[in-house]
Amino acid sequence: MRALPHLTSFLRNLFRRKQADQDLDEEVRSYVALLTEEKIAVGMSREQARRQARIELGGLEQVKEQVRDNRAGAWFDSLLLDVRYALRMLRKAPGFTTVAVLTLALGIGANTAIFTMTNGLMLHTLPVRDPGQIVELLHHYPGEPEPGFNGFSWDAYQTIREGNHVFSDLIVGAVNFFTVSADNLQPQTVFGGAVGGTFFQALGVRAAAGRLIGPEDVYMGDHAPVAVVSWSFWKSRFDFDPRVIGKKIVIDDAPVTIVGVAQRGFYGLSYEAQQDIWWPISLGPSPGWGFGLLARLKPGVSLEQARAEMAVLSQTVVNAPDAGPFVRQMKLRIEPAANGVTTPLSQMLSTPLTVLMATVGLLLLLACANLAGLLLARGASRQHEMAVRACLGAPRARLLRQTLTESLLLSLVGCAVGIFVAYFAAHALIRVFASGRFIVGAPVHFEALTNPDAHVLLFTLAIALLTGLLCGAAPAMSASNTIPASALQQASRIGESKSRRLFGKGLVASQVALSLVLMSSAGLFVEDLRQLRNLNLGFERNKLLLVTLDFAHGGYDAAHFSRLSQELVMRLDAIPGVNSATFSNMSPMEGPAASSFASAEDHPEKQTQVFINYVAPAYFETYGTPFLAGRDFSARDQAGSSVAIINETAARDCFGNENPIGRHITLSHITLTKGERTYEVVGVVRDAKYNDLEQAAPPTIYPDLLQQGYVGSQHSQLAIRTRTDPGGIVGAVRQTEASVLKTVPIVRTITMNEQIDSTIVPQRLIAMLSAAFGALAALLAAIGLYGLLAFTIARRTHEIGVRMALGAAATDVMRIVLRGALWMVCAGLAIGAPLAFWGKRVAASLIPGLPAASPLPIAVAAAIMIAVGLIAAYLPARRAMRVDPMVALRHE
């Protein structure tokens, strides 16, 4: 209860200050009046009595001040005063304030934007019981993206389930798209999962309504026709209707009944790929790799122990008697999944975000140094003011607080602006992510990556406060250390101690050093991107339009397809601006690959893994891949025996130095299936990249698409080589396609360059952002240098005047200023170079394939910094040159 009177008086003091002050004034005056009368009563004259009373009171204002200092919320009053004063000071220097706030807004905004994504992608703890014990199992093939894919065969699942001693539960939970429909529900694609019987129980998820899927729903070869939906699905699609339990819906053509709703907040296994519907998985051998596996570690079992055992189990799976050659290359892995399972997005972004987080951290540090420098310079010019305030009795702590209030105010305003900057930056970045292959069409909950939650806001506030303290500390210390007497004497002239001058120069040098690190790493990333974009791909990337057709529901048989596709190609060829057109099963860099094991006819024992693409005639002509030997497919091939074209690596790997033309090659285990096919090699083409820019072209075989009667694939790629910008013919292509293949929809059109870019989103992202941050860093360092020099020269006007009066030429003065600037820049470069080398090594360890050996980026960055430094110094130097000795000396 004691807090209550305090609170009411605090509020009264706050809101009815005027009345309280009047009241107090009246009270003290009445005291004086009473005292005066008392003295008159003992015989003093009125005049004398009043005088005596005043003396005894000891100052009306002082008494009132003492009362005010004792009031509830006195600290708040003085804080308000400080803030008001700080605001006035900042308003009086709009240029400084704008630069400072922008600097901080960009620094804090960049940090917030990157942190928002890191938070959304990597820092959300799964909403399950003891998430720290949850791990995911992954398989990894050499050359595939790290860390691997979560999907296992029935046999592998059995081996892991029977053989492990480290898991208390092995949880089956594949993630998948489903088409869900119901009586009053439009068919829609929903992200969900086929889960094992222990999924919910082992994760510790409860039902919000109805029941969850249990072991009784899962049996060999089949499963109960039931489904469970998420709370948010219940809310958005059924408006919390309790009759959802028992509702009949259709998942992928299978009728099921909803039996329950999962507990509120359970979004499945990944925050950015949230699941809305779950149904039981059917157990039993299946050809695919459909068993997604999670596990809960037994209490006390460490990740290392689990990994050690997994290495043993991995051997068992790989060496199983019926394991195909694919499986033999596989490795099993365990990764912690407390923050969600690996998704295409996290796979793509975790490294770039780590790199960018470090980059923006450095940028903020640089912004701090920059602002500290500016504040320090301002502090020096306010020495006189500080001295006066100290003389008038302001305690040291109060001066310290005043200066800190100013810098904190700046950082808080910067923080507020920064949150806006972050919001827009995050949205801009999302557009880049969304263009990534595997991301297009994936169920990514992008709001998770752009909308700041409480964690993000706290983080931002924390860095804002830290920034405010960091860049305010030195100026505050120096302001509160002002010695009034000397400052008042000297403030009009030199008045800057040597240590402070050195500190200011040190700040500029550190900005140069940080800029060097940021710019050289930006150079590295940009160079990496440039090299990727200029790689020899083995085909011509410009002026190539790709059109994806969906044959899934077209209803064409093989013969029909073959005839119509040839007709389509002929009519496309006739479009003005088109050089040639062709079909293939897939296009390079598109994504999903097909592979198999090949053996040449004379060496059946030697198995080479080869990648497959089924292509129509004119494929190589259209893509611009030259033939090294043999011929292209022709219309005659369709009636004859199976033929294929191979690339030079496949020719070398399978046939050595022998001529492969006319020889036979046999494919087995075509993308995890059994059975074999034999082809006669009719041509050899130059190597071309298959699916990954950074890997060498793998051995590749191109069977004849038309000969295969190949309509099996749902999607086919139409490739059109144009003479002009491919964007210009999209309309004509669409029209032609629609008139020939009436029931086959176009899924997407994309240029080859765009498709290549979609495979290098992380590199683009890092290059783009680090270049922007590098430029910003250089700009900040330039502002810092300019600010310091401009300030120093204003102070040294007198000295320069003397020099010129004694015969120094204008160019001498300029040389002095530029030399000083150059010294600072060089000192910064000397500090920054080792840091930059170290940073390069760190970056190279995170991003394989970075051209880290070249010292060029650092050299270029250093040259840029020197140029930037000289430009920043030139303006103040010119001002110094124009000092008129007479004016400067009279200035005294």
């Binding site: 107090l24 009445s30 005894e56 000891g58």
Partner: protein, 110 residues
Amino acid sequence: MPPDQTNLLQGTLDMMILKSLALTEMHGLGIARRIEQITKGTFQVKPGSLFPSLHRMEEEGWLTSTWGESENNRRAKYYKLTGSGRRQLETETKRWGRISLAIARALETS
């Protein structure tokens, strides 16, 4: 000049003010004079410490104040003890009793 300038500790001043208000409500000068009177002039309470004390105790809820007329018809602010102020006085008195006893003993034994 007063013979003995005792610097009153904050808590002691509060206690003295509460004590002087125990019987009747009073204005600031009245309180100061009352304290001088009951301490036989040992303590002279200056306005610079009196008013902050009064206002603080009012915020604590130990005192309430009203404007009224002084004996010679001047407007003055009168302070009055509240229930919690009375309880505070009791606590302070007991505490002071314990402390002074302890100090007295300490001084005797040495």
